[in-house]
């Protein structure tokens, strides 16, 4: 509440109505003077000596009462303080009014009346008329009229002087009271404000862990704010407040320093003192505090007081330590990366670079910071065309490029990634250069090797083609003379039998047989080479069906032989049908051949599962072989039987092996003399 003017209360608020009523009743008893104190609204606060004529007649009738109120308020308005006005009320009674003014404001009136002046004759006619107008009982009305007191002028004046002083006193007292009340309110408000202020300050100090203190050097009294106690781990207002007591709370190792610092600052006449030191709480906990104070001097310039603060910075110190640790870690990491890293600003200037980069360009970091990167990396006065940094600055995306930098003697893989500040503005990029010289060299080697490989492949293909042409012509050109040999030998045998003796005939027979054998050899060789040369087809091949057909053919070729075939049905594989047919031709021809001498020849074809793969087998119960020579069997031309025992070129199994190998499989053979042989193979599926 702003008190520019005293708050003007209602009359009722400042008057002790009951006390005044009692006072004025006694006065009336003594003097017979009727008096009333009213507020400006016409409310009666004190009323003594009301005349019947007013109470029973004038105020009882609403019309006449209106006149009373009007008199009370209007007629009595505008009277200056300390004066009084005589007037006749509208009901023709005499009244005198003097105002009650508080703080310049008229808030009520003291009325003396109603009365008649002693020397004033009563105007009966007027009153009777009044009675008639308002319907009063004339007799009673007149009786009441005559009961109204009559005073001399001097008496009235005296009375008025009394009332005037009374009003004045009331006014003044009220005003003083109001003023006092206002001052008290102000004082209370200020006190409250001050308390709140102190409370806020305390709270602020608590939150900031910052306390205030004051040392009076003249009487060595030390006062601490609550927070200082808290910082020192003491209950507020707990200790004996002297400088020495303060020192006792300081960490023993720091005590001397603190004492010296403060004493020196006073002795040297400094304006301030500042120090960081440790404090040991009763609990043993150590806190780090920052102290600072200002010295206050007296008239003659001597320092008499110090006003200061204590700030508990233990947490800050911890944060700082953590920050420093983090910074160290970061720097160590930055410097331990083998790639060259530079942080560039928007003008290609180096903001920071790591150890790897500094070493590579052979300079100290200090010498590089603030300089453009291309100066050191490329030895140029402007960035390279291929530099990715401008691209990153332009579109805010990562850019990568490969560069051969002769100045550093290296192939580099350079990448730039945009760097943003807290507001999202691009402030530069992180420029990472990785030495990929070795990688590039390896790549080059690979390219070279690849080319060599291609070359070799081409030569191989050329060789293959030659081989093919060679095999082709071999099969033709060798056969023709062979046919001649066989043919004309036959001519001799047929036409010149009589002329030839046994030796001659025998010789011819051998010639024929030999040439036949040679023809067979040529066929087999041709087959073998074709197996290697031809392109592999990949189809679903029904092995059972192939075996069946070959079995039929063999049986038809030698109908006299009774050979039993046991063929597993439905054995299918992925492979080249032609090559597999060739393989089985050979396998079954062998089995057929070597069971020649068996009573109950049996040739089997099966597929089995062994160790998670499919193994195929062709088994016969023929003459078998000695396992000692098993290694020779797959070599071309290698035979274990003489020509007169069993015919054969020795190429069959070599051909089978090549077919199997081209299918990515393995082949092996097991047997025993007199117990037959089994050829096993897989097809690499």
């Amino acid at each position: 509440m702003t008190d520019k003017e005293p708050h003007i209360p209602e009359l009722a608020d400042i008057l002790d109505g009951a006390a005044l009523q009692s006072l004025l009743e006694n006065f009336y008893a003594l003097s017979g003077v009727p008096v009333g104190i009213l507020d400006l609204a016409g409310r009666v606060l004190v009323g003594v000596g009301w005349q019947d004529i007013c109470t029973r007649f004038h105020r009882a009738n609403p019309d006449s009462c209106r006149h009373c109120v009007e008199s009370d308020t209007v007629l009595s308005a505008g009277v200056p303080a300390g004066e009084f006005r005589r007037y006749k009320c509208k009901n023709n009674m005499w009244d005198i009014a003097t105002p009650i003014v508080v703080g310049g404001t008229h808030i009520g009136n003291v009325f003396m009346g109603q009365f008649f002046f002693e020397d004033e004759p009563l105007d009966y006619e007027l009153f009777r008329a009044q009675a008639r107008r308002y319907g009063f009982n004339e007799e009673k009305y007149i009786a009441a009229l005559e009961a109204v007191p009559r005073f001399t002028k001097a008496f009235v004046d005296q009375g008025m002087a009394f009332f005037r002083d009374l009003a004045h006193m009331i006014s003044r007292l009220s005003y003083n009271n109001i003023e006092l009340a206002r001052s008290l309110r102000e004082r209370d408000a200020l006190a409250q404000s001050l308390r709140e202020s102190e409370s806020r300050l305390n709270r602020a100090q608590e939150i900031a862990h910052l306390g205030s203190w004051e040392l009076n050097l003249e009487n060595n009294t030390l006062s601490w704010s609550d927070e200082v106690y808290r910082i020192f781990g003491l209950a507020p207002q707990q200790f004996e407040s002297t400088y020495e007591a303060f020192l006792a709370a300081v960490h023993p190792d720091d005590r001397l320093a603190v004492d010296a610092a403060y004493s020196n600052s006073v002795r040297q006449g400094n304006d301030t003192y500042e120090i960081e030191h440790r404090v040991v709480r009763k609990s043993g906990e150590v806190r780090i505090v920052h102290e600072k104070c200002a010295h206050v001097r007296n008239q003659s310039g001597r320092i008499i007081r110090s006003i200061g603060m204590v700030h508990d910075i233990t947490e800050q110190k911890k944060s700082e330590a953590a920050l420093v640790r983090a910074k160290d870690e970061w720097e160590r990491t930055f410097d331990s990366v083998p790639d060259m890293i530079a942080i560039l600003d928007n003008q290609h200037k180096i903001v920071r670079l790591n150890k790897a980069m500094a070493q590579r360009i052979g300079l100290q970091p200090k010498e590089c910071i603030g300089e453009p990167c291309y100066k050191f990396m490329h030895g140029t006065a402007a960035p390279l065309q291929s530099c990715p940094h401008p691209c990153t600055l332009h579109d805010g995306r990562e850019h990568v490029t490969e560069v051969r930098e002769e100045m550093l003697g290296a192939d580099l893989l350079i990448s730039t990634t945009p760097l943003y500040d807290n507001h999202g503005e691009m402030i530069g990029s992180v420029h990472v250069a990785r030495d990929i010289t070795e990688r590039k060299q390896a790549e080059q080697r690979i390219v070279t090797l690849n080319n060599e490989l291609k070359q070799n492949l081409w030569e191989l293909e050329a060789a293959n083609r030659e081989l093919e042409a060679f095999s082709y012509s071999v099969s033709h050109d060798l056969r023709a003379p062979l046919r001649s040999i066989a043919g004309f030998s036959q001519v001799l045998v047929e036409d010149y039998k009589d002329v030839l003796d046994d030796e001659g005939q025998d010789a011819l027979a051998r010639i024929v047989k030999a040439s036949s054998k040679m023809g067979q050899l040529i066929d087999d060789l041709l087959n073998l080479s074709r197996v290697s040369r031809s392109e592999m087809q990949h189809d679903t091949v029904n092995l059972s069906s192939i075996v069946g057909k070959i079995a039929d053919r063999l049986a038809k070729g030698q109908p006299k032989r009774r050979v039993r075939f046991a063929i597993s049905e439905g054995v299918g594989v992925q492979g080249d049908e032609h090559l597999l047919t060739v393989a089985f031709d050979n396998l079954l021809a062998n089995a057929w051949k070597f069971t020649e001498k068996q009573d109950q020849p049996l040739i089997e074809f099966k597929a089995e599962q062994r160790n998670g793969e499919t193994v195929f087998l062709v088994k016969d119960n023929g003459v078998g072989f000695d396992m000692t020579y098993v290694d020779k069997l797959f070599n071309p031309f290698q035979r274990l039987h003489r020509e007169d025992e069993f015919t054969g070129t020795g190429i069959g199994l070599a051909t089978v092996k090549r077919v199997i190998k081209r299918h990515g499989g393995r082949v092996w053979i097991e047997g025993a003399v007199g117990k037959g042989a089994t050829v096993y193979f897989t097809l690499g599926q």
Binding site: Y472, S475, H476, R479, A480, P481, L482, R483, S484, A486, G487, F488, S489, Q490, V491, V512, S515, S516, G519, D523, L526
Partner: protein
């Protein structure tokens, strides 16, 4: 039947002799004309060069054609035979040592009527020739003379 001529196009003299022998053994007594290579065969068929005097209206009943010959080989000759109106329909039996699939396929592509492999074994050779002769000279109805 004696009018039916067999044209044998073969460069190997041994093979010629053996073929002649085989025919004889099979009692095929038709005239056997031998051309040593493709050029001679063309001379014969069209009455040029050595055969300028020949009546070219007379054409062979069947041509036995070897593939591997100097100057002009069997496939080229076959092409030429099939290219000319006069000789287009003549039955041609390729008789060759080659076991190459592509020779066989090519022969048929170019219009051969049959493809026989010459066996090394003389017995078999004789049988083959016999079968050939019987088929083409006796059983088969040719395009020209029936």
């Amino acid at each position: 039947m004696k009018d039916k001529v067999i044209l044998l196009v073969e460069d190997n003299p041994d093979d010629v002799k053996l073929t002649q022998r085989a025919l004889r053994k099979s009692n095929i007594l038709n005239e056997l004309v031998v051309a040593r290579d493709g050029v001679e065969a063309l001379d014969y068929l069209f009455g040029t060069g050595h055969y300028a005097e020949r009546n070219t209206r007379q054409l062979p009943q069947v041509i036995l054609l070897d593939l591997k010959m100097p100057r002009m080989d069997g496939l080229e000759l076959l092409q030429r035979i099939r290219a000319d109106e006069k000789t287009r329909l003549l039955p041609v039996v390729v008789l060759t040592t080659s076991t190459e699939d592509r020779d066989r396929v090519e022969s048929y592509k170019l219009g051969a009527n049959s493809y026989i492999r010459k066996p090394v074994d003389f017995q078999q050779f004789t049988e083959a020739v016999q079968q050939l002769g019987l088929y083409w000279l006796v059983l088969n109805q040719g395009p020209l003379t029936g």
